[in-house]
Every structure is written in C-alpha cells, then in structure tokens.
Amino acid sequence: MTTPPTRPTPPVPGWPGAPEHRPVATPAAATAAPVPDGVVPAIQVEHVSRWYGNVVAVNDISFALGPGVTGLLGPNGAGKSTLLHMLSGLLAPSAGIVRIAGRVAFGDPSIYADIGLVPEREAVPGYLTGREFIRLNADLQHVADPTAATDRAIATVELSDAAGRPIRTYSKGMRQRIKLAAALVHDPPILLLDEPFNGMDPRQRLHMMGLLRTMAGEGRSILFSSHILEEVERLADAVLVVYAGRLAASGDFRSIRRLMTDRPHRFTIRSSDDRTLAAALLGHPAVFGAELTDGLLAVRTSDYGAFTRVVAPTAKAAGIRILELRPTDDSLESVFSYLVRR
Amino acid sequence: MTTESATGNIYDLGYQGYDGPRLGRPVVALGLLRHTLASAYGIGRGGRAKIAPFTLLILSLLPALLAVGISALAGQTGQGEVLTANSPIRHETYQSLTSTLIMLFCAAQAPELFGRDQRYGVLPLYFSRVLTRIDYALARTGGLFLAVLLVSIVPQLVLTIGAVLAAPDPLTGLGNDAPDIPRYVAVSLLSSGLLAGLAALIAAWTPRRAYATAAIIAAFIIPPIIVALLSRLAAGDAARALVLLSPGDVIEGLNAAIFGTIADGSPAVMAADLPDWSYVAASVVGVVACVLLVVRRYLRVTG
C-alpha cells in the first residue's frame, strides 16, 4: 500500500482540530495486504478529490488495495461515504481517477459484475420479500443459476427463516443483512461496505465479521468503513485513516505506530526490582522517562526498536528478573487519537 | 469539553437554566406565521427552494407590468385613456389571468409547509412547548394564506400604481381607480383564503409530497371541467348547485359578483345563473370549513 507524500496541512475552515503533524512517509511501510508488482490492484485510487462548491469532501487521496480486509476509519464527516460512492461509480471524482480492476469506475456499468456494494442508507424496496429481492438482484446480475445463488446468499446471512416476509417487516439488522446478501449473490471479488455493522447486535456483528474474514481468505478484496475503532481493530488487516477528507495514514496500525517517531512509545514493565531497573534504563539515550506507579514501571522511549533490544540485557546486567513487558499505547485508539489530535 | 491530566481542568459548558422573562404564546405563534411565510418563498432555505415560488410570483406580475408599460407608452401618444378602458388586463379580469399560477403556487408550496414536519416526525418538538396544536395549525395555514395573497394582490397594486402614475395628476388617477381597490382587495382575500385553505387541508392530510401535489392540482383543475361538462350536457337544479363545489368556479363567480361583471371565463357559472351572494357565501363557508378541518387534523395527529 502506498502512503501519501508529506504535505503541510493548513487548518481547514470548518474543521477545527485539523492534524498539525504528519508521520514522515516511508516508502517501505509494511502492509498486510501488499499488492505485488505487475498485478492490477483490485481497487486503485489516484489523487482523487471531490468538492462541492467550496466544501472539500475528499482531498487528494491515493491508495491501492489487494485481497484482504481493509478498514476505512474516520470520524463522521471525514469523507468515508463520499469515497465509497466514488469507488462504486456512483459519484464522479472532481479530480483524479478511481479504478476498479483496472477499469475507470465512473460511467462503466461492467464493473458492477465485479463489485458488491452495501450502502449505508436503507435503500431497499419494502414491498418485496427478502427472497424476491435477492432473486431480483440475481436476475439483474445475470447469474448462471439464480435459484441456487439466491438460496446460497440468503443462507450465508442467516435469513432463511425470514426470507418469505416483506422487507418492510425486517428489523434494522435484518435489513443490513439482506443488503449484504444482495451484494453477495453474484459472488463478486470486491466488496465495499459502508458502515455495515450499524444496527447489528453483538452476535450478528461477530457473525458478519467472521463471514467477511472467511471471504477475504478466499482472495476477495474487502473494504469497509466505520467510525468505531474496536470494529476496525478486530476485523481489518490494514487500515486507511481519513480525517477531514485527507488520508492521514494507511497500513497495519502497528506499523503506523512505528512511524510516529516524534511521539514517545510507552511500555509497562513488572519486574523484581522496578526502581533499580528504572535507574538502569534511564542511563540509555533512547529512554527519556520512567515512572513508578501502582507497582508498575512505566517507561517512555523514543526508539521502539532500540528499546526492545536494550531492555533485556540491561535487566540481566542488573540482576533483575522481568515478569511482564507490555507496550501500552500500541492500540488503534492511541494511533487514531494521535492522528486526529483530539 | 477538555480534560488534561497534567493540569486537571474541566470546563462545564453544559445546559444552564434560564429564569428571565419569557415571550408568550402569541409571540411564538406569530413567529411561526412569519417563518411559514418566509418558507413559502424559500427564504432561509437555500437557492433552489426559491426558484418555484419566485418564478410564479414574477409570472403573475408580468401582465400587470406589461399593462402599465403599454399604457405609459400609449399615454405619450395621447391614447392612454382609450387603451386602459379596453385593455384585457384590468382589475376585474386579473383574477382569471393568474388563477392557474396561484394554483401551481399552492401545489408547489403547501406540501412543503405542511408535510415536512409530519414526515420527519418533529411535531412533538413543537407541541411540547407553549405553542398549542391549534396555534400551529392556524399559524401554518395563515402563513400559506399570506404567501398566496401576495401572488394575488401585488399585481393588482401594481395596476393601481400604474393608474395613479399614468394619470394627469396622482389624485385623479387614484380617484379613477379607487372604486376598484376595495373590490380587488375583497376578491383577493377571499380567493386566496379559499385556495390556500383547500391546499392546506389536502397537504395537512397527505404528508407525502408527491401525492399531496397531485391531489391539490387534481382538486383545483378537475372539478371545473366536470362541472362545465355537466352544465352543458345535463340539466336540473342539482347540476346548477354543483357549481358551488368547484373552487375555481366559485372564485370566478365571486369575482363577477363583486365587480359586477359577467363571469365569461367560466361557462358553468354562466349556465348556472346563481345569485351573487351565493358565491360569496360559498367562499366564506369554504374557507371556514377548510381551516376547521386543518385544525382537526393537527388536533388528532401524533408524532
């Protein structure tokens, strides 16, 4: 996955709290869904922007996606839906190109055989039964065996019992699932989901997450948007963080964390002698803070790699046994909150 | 709200009570009336909402401006008096010129004014305040009435101003036009009331915009045609009285009654040959009935 070039970000009117720092871009950013050279990426976005008059909804975003699950993370109003609409050819970019499997997304109906979109708005015709709706989608997609495909899609989302009822009698979670079934009925290699877990209870959410991971394992490229960190952290192999229309970071969130060299990493250590260990660690140039609290030693360091190499020998030389060593801010939440400067 | 662990500041920007004087119910109702009137012209709602109402308003003004312009030009050549007497654009003929525009205005704007609050379920927000349901219904209907009144009466005022300015001196012009002024005011008030009331009634009972628009237009343009056909092809007193059920014909008859002319715009009215007061009575009854039914709707609607 490519990362965007560094660019100073002036505060954008209307978006208080625009990020003032940017991680320095490193071309060799590790990613869980690498796109090998010579292979056409499933989704390719090149310098795409979209504005409405004076309001910029998406601001110069570039990335490429391959197989696996990618999470599009950002607060409401960050441009996630706009970006997904552009990916699915429902919106034309004001600048830049969106390609799906090598073809330009806007204005080419042939891409719809290869993508399935689960939109956020509840845009399903209430007067059709679930089965009729899926069957209709199968027919319109010119699927080879529509009956079997319909049954399969409905079974996948576990709506076989309710498939005979009109959709207007469905709960919100059921509507989400029937939309997912409609997006799956033609077995697309690319899936785009806009806030798919909205309105789902925990059990349904777990089931859908498992489903998405299975499909990604089959080689599909799945992109889903969310503003809930836990969902993205649990499900996504890689993350695209958008804020105020800009791509703030991309890749595996742990790798992103490594890149934030201007922010100290925190570790928590439990050892046989915290105080002596603290004094010993403070002797190293990479460590610039140590705190003793609640029976734990909290260490701040600027260099993740150097610290991990140095902590064991230091403890051993001082004759201290380390019982527990944990990075404490290596979560998506801390990454995200840093990126958006809450 | 920020919480910084280092300095431990918490700023309470939350809800604060208010104990000062409060403006009363009449002010609130009048505010809603004013807001409804502005909304009817798309003011406060962005550019696209203004296209339909202002286009219709300008179209309704065109004949008046045209007439004033032509009579001014004719006045230069000394033909002014003759022209104004014979012009097809006069106070008593203006109602039939603009009736279609007024109907379109009602069909375009009434569903917006009455349907939106019901569709988005915000009525409880209104009714949990000092504003009562009756206030709401009357304020909304009143706003639509005023909006329609503008379309109906402003062109007539333009004609009056034109007459005043075109005459040798303003007082003479005013004197010439003065008998017509209370007449067209009365016709505008009653016709606007009837059309706005009917549109409000349909829009209040039909929240979905497309259906409301279609129903309003149907209610305005279909009865005159049916009544005209019946008057031509059927006979009997019942058929004559049916004229009073058609808003368009009632207004034609009203106009004729007040100005003392023949309602040659409506064959049904001419065929029915009903006394003048019946049209006035029908208008008044119609307005009252529509307003009462709108109030009834808002007394009973929930959510």
Binding site: P109, A123, N137, L140, Q141 | T100, A108, A210, I222, L229
Partner: protein, 241 residues
C-alpha cells in the same frame, strides 16, 4: 428471468403501490362517472366533448404525470434506484424498460375509460364506436409521449411533478392558446391533431396535420428516451448521502 424481464417486473411492482393505484383508478374512472351522470340524467350526449376536454386535456396528462414521475423519480427519491444502477446493465436498457412500462401503464389506464365513456354517452352505433376508437388511438400515442417525457423529467430533476404540472397547465393550457406558433411544442396539440384526423371532430383552433402530429410524438418518444439514457449514464448520488 431475463435481465430485461426483471427490469420490467420490478418497475411495474414499484409503480403499482396501493395508494398510487387508488389515485390513478379514481382519475381514470372520472370520465366514466361523468358519462354515467350525463346518460342517466338524460342530458345531451356529445361524447367528443367529454373525451376531448376531460380525458385528453386533463386526465391523460395527469395520469401520465403521476406514472412518469414515479417510474424513476420516486426511486431516486427513496434511494432504491441504486440497486438497479449497481448492476452491469447497459443504461439504455434500463431507460427503455422504464419508458416502456410508463407508456404501457398509461395506455392501459386510459384506453378502457375512453372506450367505456364513448359508448356510454354516444350509444353503440358504429359512428360512436369509431369516435371512441379514434380518441383511444390518439390517447395511446399522446399518452406515450407524455409518459416518456415525464419519466425523463423524473430522472433529471427532483421537482418533476411541479415542472410537469407547469408544462401541462401553463404551457399547454395557456400559452399554446395565446401564441399559435407554439402548437408544435405541445404534446396536447399533437394528440388532438391525431384525434381530429381519426374522428373528424372539431378540436378547436386549427389542429395540427396528422403527419406533423405523429412526427412530434415520435420525436418526443425517441428524443426523450435518448435524454434519459444520457441522464442515467451521468447519474450521481445527491450530496450528503
């Protein structure tokens, strides 16, 4: 089911919602009711009058308007158009299915009342049957033109109903009467021209020659459908979705 068949089916089912059917049936029944009243009331029987004034000039455009603006317009409004557009189907096919259903449904709703009213009021003589059939043919052609035009209007603007009403009431109703040269831009005049040719009745001021009228209808149908295809190709979700 074939792709095209599925398109037709879903458009039909979307249009035939319960409330819309009631409204359209009521509109379609009006001429029949009026005919009944006249027949039972023993008045003069001039079927051409009713069919001209009530049906061709009023009921036909209204029904075409309601059906046409709903064919695509209502789907755009509630968002269900997406699941039609997110399919690998050529846009001309989608547009064709929509206008076919709109025109067909309009014809189905308008022709029976014309025939019934014509026979009710005019009796069952051959002349009356010819009159009714003449108006029916004119209504099919003109109604199709209206339906296509209003369907495309529904794709292009969200206020299709008002624009369509303004066209029918202001343009065709008022202006075309004032400015004789605009006859060529009026579907109503084309319909009346065809009716005049087929039935020999007097439809008012200088009706259009049948060739011209049919040409106008053809231009509206083909041109409208083409515009619809272009509009569908350039369709984008509205801002804020």
């Amino acid at each position: 089911m074939t792709v095209f068949g599925a398109l037709i089916t879903v458009t039909l089912r979307a249009l035939l919602g319960r409330r819309r059917i009631v409204l359209m049936v009521v509109l379609a029944a009006l001429p029949i009711l009026v005919g009944l009243v006249i027949r039972l009331g023993g008045g003069r029987s001039d079927a051409g009058d009713i069919l001209d004034a009530l049906v061709i000039r009023t009921v036909l455009p209204l029904i075409a308007l309601i059906i046409g603006t709903a064919a695509v317009g209502s789907e755009i409004e509630d968002g269900t158009v997406l699941f039609l557009l997110l399919k690998p189907i050529a846009r001309w096919q989608i547009a064709l299915a929509k206008v076919l259903v709109a025109a067909g449904l309009t014809a189905v709703l308008v022709v029976p009342p014309i025939l019934i009213t014509g026979l009710l009021v005019g009796g069952s003589g051959s002349e009356s049957i010819a009159l009714a059939f003449g108006y029916a043919v004119a209504a099919i052609l003109g109604g199709s033109a209206y339906a296509v035009a209003f369907t495309v209007l529904g794709i292009v603007t969200s206020r299709a109903l008002i624009v369509g009403l303004a066209y029918t009431l202001l343009w065709e109703g008022v202006l075309a009467g004032l400015l004789v040269g605009t006859r060529f831009l009026s579907i109503r005049q084309a319909t009346l021209g065809i009716a005049a040719q087929l039935t020999g009745t007097d439809v008012g001021v200088d009706p259009l020659a049948p060739v011209v009228a049919i040409a106008i209808v053809a231009v509206v149908i083909v041109g409208g459908w083409s515009l619809g295809v272009i509009a569908l190709r350039r369709f984008q979700v509205r801002a804020g979705d």
